[in-house]
Symmetry: D2
Subunit: 414 residues, 4 copies
C-alpha cells in the first residue's frame, strides 16, 4: 500500500503544482482568506468530503474542516495553513512566479511563507485518502487553518473543540536546505525546537494637557519610553534562548499636547514554553509598573500565543522508520537545526497530547530562492508530492486496517 | 483726531461683530485659509487698498498684504493672524456661537484662539485708516498672516522682506482677564514675557531585521525611547522657566520586525530666547547621541521657531501714555502676568528692531468663556472696537502729519 | 532707646569680631557642635542667661536655648544657626582668615556659610538685651541651632515645642551684595522667595545571583537607573521653579554578581511649599514604581525638609520703617533677588505663624570674597554689629515697655 | 609506563591530600599569593625543578614557572591556577574542612573554587615527571598562575612569552557531577563551551555645579543611568547565549551637587569569542554615546578578558582514547554540559594554537558539597591522583621517548 501511495502522489505532481500556482495568485492575509477558502471547499466537496466553513470552524468567516469517515476507529487530524503575508511580491524576471505568470494578483499580499504549497499538499492528501478510504479506519479530518501568521487561527479552532478527539495530529512546513545543514533530505520528522511565543499589545492611557503646563498631565510617551527600555533589558535566561521585539510604537495627538493615548505592539519568544512564560511574566509586570511610574494606566491585549512545538518522540521515530523502510522516494533526516520560528500548530499538538493522543510537526526541506517572508521567496515544487506522500503514509501507518495492512505490509517490505 | 478715532471705532462696532461672526463660521487651519483670504481681500479692495495675496506674501497660497499710501514717510506695519485650530467646536446651547447660529461650518476646524476677532479688528483699522489717510504720512501696511499656530507663517513673510523697511510694527492678541490679575483693563501695551519656542521633528533611521535575530538590526524604537527619557530630563534652568513637550511618537512596521523608521514630534520653550536656545541645543545633542547609542541615525527638521516677544520699551510707554492721556474709552494697564504662549509675531518684531525700527505686542483683555484652544472658547466682542481704537491711534501717534496733528492734538487734549 | 542700641552695637564691634574669629577656628559639622556649644554657653551664662543644652533642646547632644525673663509679656524668639560645613578651608595668603591666623583648626570642616558670624551676632544681641532688660517685657529666647545644613536641626527643636508660645520669631543670614542687585544695603527685612526643599534617600533592595544566570536575580542597578531617568523627567511646573538633584548613587558588590542593595541620595526644591510638595509626590511615586518594575523593593528616608520662607508682610514693613525712621546707621532695602537656597528656619516661622505669631527672615548683605559654601568664602565683619542692631531694635519695637518707650522714642526721634 | 603512572599517582594520594589541606588553610586572593608561592616553590625546588617566581613570570610579585629539561624535544606546558576568593569560609561542623581542622586561616579569603586542589595536582604531576624524566623528551614547563579569578593572570604570563614555544598545553578544573549529567566519569577531555568574557570599568566624567542651577553641570548619574538601561537592552544574539552584568555603580559627592565623577563595573560574556566581541562592541559604543548624550566624557578600562576555551579536537580525541585504552582507573566521558564559566587559560590555549601547537582544557568531575564560589564548597579529594594521572599520561603520550615508549606501550596494552 505504501508503494501505491508513492505512485499516486507522483502521478498527482502536476495537479499539485497547478493548485499551488492558482492559489499563489490569490493570496489573502489572516482572516481574509475567502477566495482561498472557496477554492479549497470546491475541490474538497468534489472529492466527496463533508465540508464546514467559517463560523463553526473558527468563529470567523474563514477556515475549513473537511471530514472523511472510514468507519470505526480513531480520529486523525492533518492541518494545513492557508494565509498569506502583507508583502508586495517581486515582479522582476528573476522571480519565477513573475516569469511564469502566476504572481500575486492581490496588491500588497503574497504567499511568501509557502502556505500555497501547504494547501496544495493538503488537497493532494485529500485525493489519496479518498482512494485509500476502504483501507483506512476511523475519521480523517483535514483542517485548513486561517491566520497562522501572528498565531491567531489555531487557538480559535482548538477553542471550538476540533482537536478534543484527535488521536493523531500532523502538520508541517516547507523549509530551505539550511535545516539539514545544507545536506539533502525530503522530510525531517518531528521538530522539537521551535520558539514558543506570545504576541500582544500594550495600550497606555494618561492625561492630556497643554505642553506648557505639563504638571497637569500624565504622558504616555514617557511611560512607553520607560517601558521600552525596561522590556529590552529583561535579563537573559541561562537555560535557553529568549527574544523580545517591540515592533511598533505610536502615541500622542499634537506637538504641544501632552500625549494621553499610546500603543506598543510587541512579541516575546522562548525556546521552551517555560522560557516564553518567563518573558511574558516579566514583560507584563514592566508594562504595568512603567505606566504607574508616570501616573498612567495600561492594558494588555494578547493577540496570539503559541507554545513551542513538542512532537511525540515515539511518533517521530516511527515516521523516520516508515520513510527509511517503506518509502524509497523519500529521504528522511533524524535531526534538524533549530526551527527559529513560532507556529501555532503547537496549540493543536498540545491539545492532542493533553488527552493521550500523539502528534508531530514535520519539516519538508527543499531548494528555496530567498528567506521566508521575503518578497522574492519561491520554493522547488517537487517537494509537494513528497510531502503528500509522507503525510498520507503516516496516517495509513496509524489507522490503516490492520490485518490486511499488515499482510500487505509484509509482502511489500520483502 | 484721537476722539475722532474713538468715535469711529465705536460706530463700527456692529460691523466688526458681523465680520467676526462671518469669519467664525469659516475657520481654516494653517496654510488652508483660502475662503478666509477671499473674504478679507474683498473687503480691503472695496476700501481701496492695494492687495497682494498668496505666493508673493508667503510663498504659499494664502496670506495677504494690503497697502495704503499716504505720501512720503515711514512704513507702519500691523499684523493680524487669520488661521483656525483643528478643533471640533462645542455645539451645545451653552456656547454662544451655537446659540446665536454662527458656529463653525467646517467640521474639525474652529476659531478657538480669537483670530476671527483679530481679523475683524484689522478690517476695522483698515476702514479708519482710509478715513484718516490725509492726516497720515508714509505707508500703512496691513499683514493678514496665515499659520500662526505652530509658528510657521511669520517666518515665511519675514523671509520675503515685508518687514525690512518697517519703522513701526504692531500686533496683538485678545486674552482673558487672568492677564490683569482679574482686574479691568482694555489693553496692556507691550508684553515682554512670551515664551520663545522651537517646534521640530526628530526622524530616526535604523536597520530592519527579523525580531528573532535582533543582532542584525538597529531599532529606532529603542533609540527614541532613550531620547524621550533624556529629553524629559534636560535640567531645569535657574534663570527662568523652560518647557519641553514630546507630542507624538511613531515608529516601526510590524510586530516581529525590528523597527527601522521612526518620528518624534516635539517642541521646546523658554521665557527668553536664550533659554529656548539652551533647550534647543540640549535637545538636538540628545537626539543625535541617542540615535548613535543604538547604531541609528537621526535628522532634525525645524518646523517653526519664534523668539520671545521683546517689545520696544519706549514705544510701550508712549502707547500707555496715549491711552491714559487721549483715549478716555480705553483703560490701559502697565504690566501683565507672563504671556505663557508662543507667538511668531516675535519674528516680525525682531526684524523691525534689527534695522532700528520699533515695535510692540499688545494684549487686549476681555471676558472669555474658556481657555484659549478649548472647544468652548468664546470672547466678549466689545473688545473689537477698543482694540481697533488702540492700533489706529498708535499709528496716528507715530506717523500722523505732525504740524496739524500737533495743533489738533493740543486742542483735543485740552 | 534706638540710638542706645545703635551705640552699644557699634561699641561691641571688636568683641563680635573676636567671637567670630574664635568660633571660625573651631568649625563643627551638624550635630557635632560640642566645642561650639561650650563656647556659646559659657558666654551666655556669664551674661546671666538661663541656658539649656543638648537633649532638652534637640534630642541630640548639641543645641542651646538661652532665656532672659523680663516680666510679663510675649515670647520673642531669635534663632542663630551654628554648624559648619565638611569643607577644607583655603589656607593660601589670599584668604584673610589664613592671613590673619584664624583659619579652621579642624581638618575637613569650615565655617563657609557664615554661621560663625551668626553666632557672634547672637552673642551681641544677648549682651544688649541684658542691658535693655528693664525696658523689655516678656521673655527673650535665643536659640542656637545645630544642623541647619541639610535642614535637620530646626525640626528637632520645633518638635520639642520651643516655638509653640512664640509671638515674634526672627532669624537671618549674612549674604553677598548680589541680593541687592549689587547696590548698598545692610538689611533686607523679610524674604519670601527661598526654596522649599525635601532631602531624602531612596534605598533599593533586590535579589542577588550570579551574573551568568541573571533570571534568578532582581537588579537594583537597573531599577535605580530607571528611577534616575524618570526623576530627571518630572515635568516642570507652570506655576514656578522646581528643582531636583540626584547627588549620589551607589549599588552592588561585585562585577559578576547581580546587585541587591543600592542607594540614591537626592533632594527636591520648589519656590513654594506647594511646588516642593508636587516634586516630592512625583519623586516618591517614581521611586516606588521603578523598584516594582524590576521586581525590587524601595524605601524612602526623609533626611530633612523645609517649607519656603514666608515672612509676615506687616512685620517686614514695620522693620523696614524702623530702619528708615529710627536707625540712621542701617540702610534697608525693600525687596531682594530670590534667595535661591533652602533654610529650615522656615519650620520655626511656620510654627510661630500657626498660632497667630509673626515672624521674618532677614538678609544682611555685605561684601563677600566667594560664593557661600566655597573654601575661600569670607565676609566683611562690619555687618556683625549692624545685624545685632536690627535684631535688637526689632525686638524692642515689639516688646519694649510701651509708655516709657513711646515717650523716649518720640524725644529720640526728634 | 601508563600503569606506572597510575600506580605512582595512587601511592601519592595521601601526599596530594596533605598538600591540598595545607594550601586550603592559607588562601590568598589574586596577586597576593605570596605564602602560597613560597609553599609551591619550596616543594618544586626540592624535586629539582628550576623555579622562577614573581616578576619574570607575571610582572607582579606572585606566579611560578618550574622547568624540567628532558633533552631535545618539544615544550609541554601544564597550567595550575593558585588564587583564592574573597569569601568567608563556612566554619560549621557540617563543612568538612571545619570538622577536620583545615579551614581557612585568612579571614575573608577561601579556596572556594578548588584551586588548592589544582596546586596539589600540579605538585603530584611534578613529582611523577621527575621519576619519568629519562623516558620524556623536551621540556616540561609547569605554570602556577595567580589571579585566575577576574581573568587577569593568564594574560600577564602570555605577554611575557611563556607560551610562545609551547607545543602542548594542558589545563583543567575540578567540577561537580552536573557536568556529566549526574553520571560517573573522572575526566572530560576537552571543553569547547566555556564563556568568553570581557571584564571592564566605565569611568564617567561630567561637570559639577550646585543642584539648584543644574544647567551649569553635566551629571554623570544621568549618563550612567542611560548607559545602564541601554546596556541591559543590547539585543540577544540568535547564534548563541550572551550575558551582561552591571555589578557595581557609584557616583557623586553630595546631595545638592551635580555629580561629576562616576564608575560602572561590568562584564560581558558569550558562548563564543565572536559573541563576546559582539557584546563588547555594543557595550563600548553605548558607554561612549550615553556619556556624550549628557555632555559627559567616558573612558573604558579593560580589567580582564578571556576568549572561550577551544580545545584542539584531535588532542581531545587522543586523550579520550588514552584513558579508555590505557588507564583502567580513569573513566572518561566524551561530551559535557556547557561550562558556564569563564577561564583565562583560554588565552594560553589560543597562544599555543597560534603557532601550530595543540591544547586542551579538561574537566575533572567529582562529588562536591556546594556550587563553586560558595562558602560551603568542598570536593571529594579522590579526584586529585586521578587528575594527576591524566595530565602525566597525556604528557607522556605526547613526548614520551618513542622507541622504548612504543615497545612498552605495546606490551602494557596487551
Amino acid at each position: 500500500m505504501y508503494s501505491f501511495i508513492e505512485k499516486r502522489a507522483c502521478e498527482l505532481a502536476p495537479v499539485l503544482t497547478r493548485h499551488r500556482r492558482n492559489l499563489h495568485q490569490i493570496p489573502e492575509t489572516g482572516w481574509n482568506e475567502k477566495e482561498t477558502c472557496s477554492y479549497i471547499a470546491a475541490e474538497l466537496r468534489q472529492l466527496g468530503y463533508e465540508v464546514l466553513l467559517g463560523a463553526p470552524v473558527t468563529g470567523h468567516e474563514t477556515g475549513i474542516i473537511a471530514s472523511l469517515s472510514c468507519g470505526n476507529g480513531p480520529v486523525s487530524v492533518l492541518r494545513f495553513d492557508i494565509d498569506a503575508l502583507p508583502t508586495e511580491e517581486d515582479s522582476t524576471h528573476a522571480h519565477l512566479p513573475a516569469r511564469e505568470h502566476f504572481c500575486s494578483r492581490n496588491p500588497g499580499a503574497m504567499h511568501a511563507c509557502g502556505h500555497d504549497g501547504h494547501i496544495a499538499i493538503g488537497l493532494g492528501c485529500a485525493r489519496i485518502f479518498t482512494e485509500l478510504s476502504s483501507r483506512l479506519s476511523g475519521t480523517i479530518r483535514l483542517i485548513f487553518q486561517p491566520a497562522e501568521e501572528g498565531c491567531k487561527g489555531a487557538g480559535a479552532i482548538v477553542e471550538r473543540g476540533w482537536l478534543d478527539d484527535a488521536s493523531l495530529f500532523l502538520a508541517g512546513h516547507i523549509v530551505g536546505r539550511e535545516y539539514t545543514g545544507g545536506g539533502h533530505a525530503d522530510v525531517i520528522p518531528g521538530v522539537n525546537a521551535s520558539l514558543a511565543t506570545t504576541k500582544f499589545d500594550a495600550i497606555f492611557s494618561g492625561h492630556s494637557c497643554h505642553g506648557a503646563a505639563p504638571e497637569n498631565g500624565a504622558s504616555v510617551i514617557s511611560a512607553m519610553a520607560s517601558a521600552v527600555l525596561a522590556l529590552n533589558g529583561i535579563p537573559r535566561h541561562s537555560e535557553g534562548a529568549t527574544f523580545l521585539n517591540i515592533g511598533r510604537i505610536q502615541g500622542g495627538q499634537g506637538r504641544n499636547i501632552v500625549a494621553d493615548r499610546g500603543l506598543i505592539e510587541l512579541e516575546v519568544r522562548g525556546t521552551t514554553t517555560a522560557l516564553n512564560q518567563y518573558m511574558e511574566d516579566q514583560a507584563f509586570r514592566i508594562i504595568q509598573e512603567s505606566a504607574r511610574m508616570y501616573g498612567c494606566e495600561s492594558e494588555i491585549q494578547v493577540i496570539g500565543r503559541a507554545p513551542s512545538l513538542d512532537s511525540t518522540p515515539a511518533l517521530c521515530g516511527r515516521i523516520l522508520s516508515l520513510c527509511r523502510d517503506h518509502l524509497p522516494s523519500i529521504q528522511a533526516f533524524g535531526t534538524s537545526a533549530a526551527f527559529r520560528a513560532s507556529e501555532d500548530a503547537s496549540l493543536m499538538l498540545e491539545r492532542t497530547k493533553s488527552h493521550g493522543g500523539q502528534g508531530a510537526f514535520l519539516l519538508f526541506p527543499t531548494d528555496t530562492t530567498a528567506p521566508l517572508h521575503n518578497s522574492s521567496y519561491d520554493f522547488d515544487e517537487s517537494i509537494l508530492p513528497k510531502a503528500a506522500t509522507v503525510f498520507t503514509a503516516a496516517v495509513y501507518q496509524f489507522c490503516g486496517r490492520k490485518p490486511q495492512a499488515l499482510s500487505r505490509h509484509r509482502s511489500e517490505s520483502v
